[in-house]
């Protein structure tokens, strides 16, 4: 049997981490774009639009991400396409992230005082202009900490894509474990790598939040 040094293990895990990072970025950015569309639907004046966004969000927040991955993987296959794991993973994670980001941002928009809507309306602005020039610039400030915080959920969410066969950090952990028979060390290292990715984001989210609260109190 070949002996694996810690360094061998770590090198293999770190190589796979690139895919965790790439998938996280794609999911977060794609989810942000779809989430923005959801946000506009969710606060639209049209009842049907609000209902669509509401049910979308409830569906994606009310079912396991793992099931969403399975359905993307096998469901897309029904259209006769041979779905590669990365595609199913990307699609599912984007749609899932969008639901959470849309809901987070809705909270931020709703936290803006009603007077801001009224004042801008009384100046003759249309709904999109109100959003663009008055509401979003203010909502974006308070949206930063929870949005950064959610990016941690996205990174952790990518771990599930190993189950449909996408080779990223978690999958690499399993593969390396099967080769080395050192689950304690390997999964310990995998956990530490995730921690190294997530913890700085968690911490900055907390710090940003605290800063925002202080700024708020000084107003």
């Amino acid at each position: 049997m070949i002996e694996f040094t810690i360094w061998d293990i770590l090198r293999n895990l770190l190589l796979a981490t690139r895919w965790t990072i790439a998938l996280s970025l794609v999911s977060f950015i794609g989810g942000g774009l779809v989430g923005l569309a959801l946000l506009f639907l969710r606060i639209s004046r049209r009842k049907w639009a609000r209902a669509v966004a509401k049910y979308y969000i409830e569906l994606f927040q009310g079912t396991p991400l793992l099931m969403q991955l399975f359905i993307a993987f096998f469901g897309l296959g029904l259209f006769g396409i041979d779905v590669p794991a990365w595609l199913a993973a990307g699609v599912a994670l984007i749609l899932w992230s969008a639901a959470f980001l849309g809901e987070i941002w809705r909270g931020c928009v709703e936290a803006i005082a009603k007077g801001q809507w009224e004042a801008s309306a009384s100046l003759g602005m249309g709904r999109l202009q109100q959003m663009r020039y008055v509401i979003l610039p203010q909502a974006m400030r308070i949206a930063v900490p929870p949005t950064v915080g959610f990016s941690v959920q996205v990174i952790k969410g990518t771990a599930l894509t190993s189950i449909i066969g996408f080779v990223e950090l978690s999958k690499a952990g399993t593969v390396v474990t099967n080769a080395t028979f050192q689950p304690f060390t390997v999964y310990g290292l995998v956990a530490l790598i995730y921690f190294a990715l997530c913890w700085p984001l968690s911490k900055s989210s907390q710090i940003l939040e605290r800063k925002l609260n202080v700024a708020h109190r000084n107003h």
């Binding site: 007077g115 801001q116 004042a119 801008s120 309306a121 003759g124 602005m125 203010q138 400030r141």
Partner: protein
């Protein structure tokens, strides 16, 4: 034809009828004070005139144009009628100048240099040209309210609605805001203001409207309304017996 014609306006929130048939015609250049107890529907009336609330029944027209509930009509109306709020409602992410420029550029598509020139002129008019670059949280309440007035004036409205614009101010800051309003009145601006400043109403207004339980209970020139109230409700409100 009157500038603002309010005819049989009714407004309900659910089962609660807040305006129960309001009739009021406002002539150009008139300054009207609306007084009455809290909850009598004064704010709701102003908000209906600005289209912030949709009326349940009746009609409102401004300069001959009917108030209809679609975005194009609302915009047209709001270009004619400005509104000042009790809580100022300045945009906190913009400077005083930015507050005054924004809607000119966005709504009227005024080019930036002209919008800025107008903003400086309007801020000067309310005595705040030196605060062009200050953010709202760097201004006192009185200054913020004056910026709000400049912001509304920059849209060149033909009438202004003022809802208790001095009620959120510390007593020593009330006078500077009222001085601005007094000047506007003298220049011939049409004003509808909800106010608790009875002296100001007596000195400046052409007519006083006393609202009670969603109706115009008494109306007349200030000398009559204040000196010779007809109804027991107004007498009680004014504290005369």
């Amino acid at each position: 034809m009157s500038l603002i014609e309010i005819t049989d306006v009714r407004k309900s929130f659910g089962p609660n009828e807040v305006l129960k048939g309001i009739n009021l015609d406002v002539e150009p250049g008139e300054v009207i004070a609306i007084i009455g107890k809290s909850g009598s529907g004064k704010s709701t009336l102003l908000r209906c005139i600005n289209g912030l609330e949709t009326i349940s029944d009746g009609s409102i027209s401004v300069a001959g144009a009917q108030l209809l509930d679609d975005e194009a009509h609302l915009k047209a109306l709001r270009l004619k009628v400005g509104m000042i709020f009790q809580q100022f409602n300045l945009f906190p992410h913009l400077t005083a100048g930015g507050n005054v420029m924004l809607s000119q550029m966005v709504v009227k598509k005024t080019p930036k240099p002209e919008a800025e020139e107008m903003a400086r002129k309007m801020l000067e008019r309310v005595g705040l040209d030196h605060k062009f670059d200050a953010y709202p949280d760097e201004l006192s309440g009185g200054q913020q309210q004056r910026v709000a007035i400049a912001r509304a004036l920059a849209m060149q409205p033909i009438a202004l609605l003022c809802d208790e614009i001095t009620s959120a101010l510390d007593p020593e800051l009330v006078a500077e805001v009222l001085a601005v309003v007094r000047e506007l009145a003298a220049e011939g601006m049409t004003l509808l203001m909800v106010t608790h400043e009875m002296r100001f109403a007596r000195d400046v207004c052409s007519r006083v409207v006393f609202m009670h339980q969603g109706r115009v209970h008494e109306i007349g020139p200030p000398e009559e309304v204040f000196a010779n109230p007809q109804t027991p409700e107004l007498k009680q409100f004014l504290g005369v017996h």
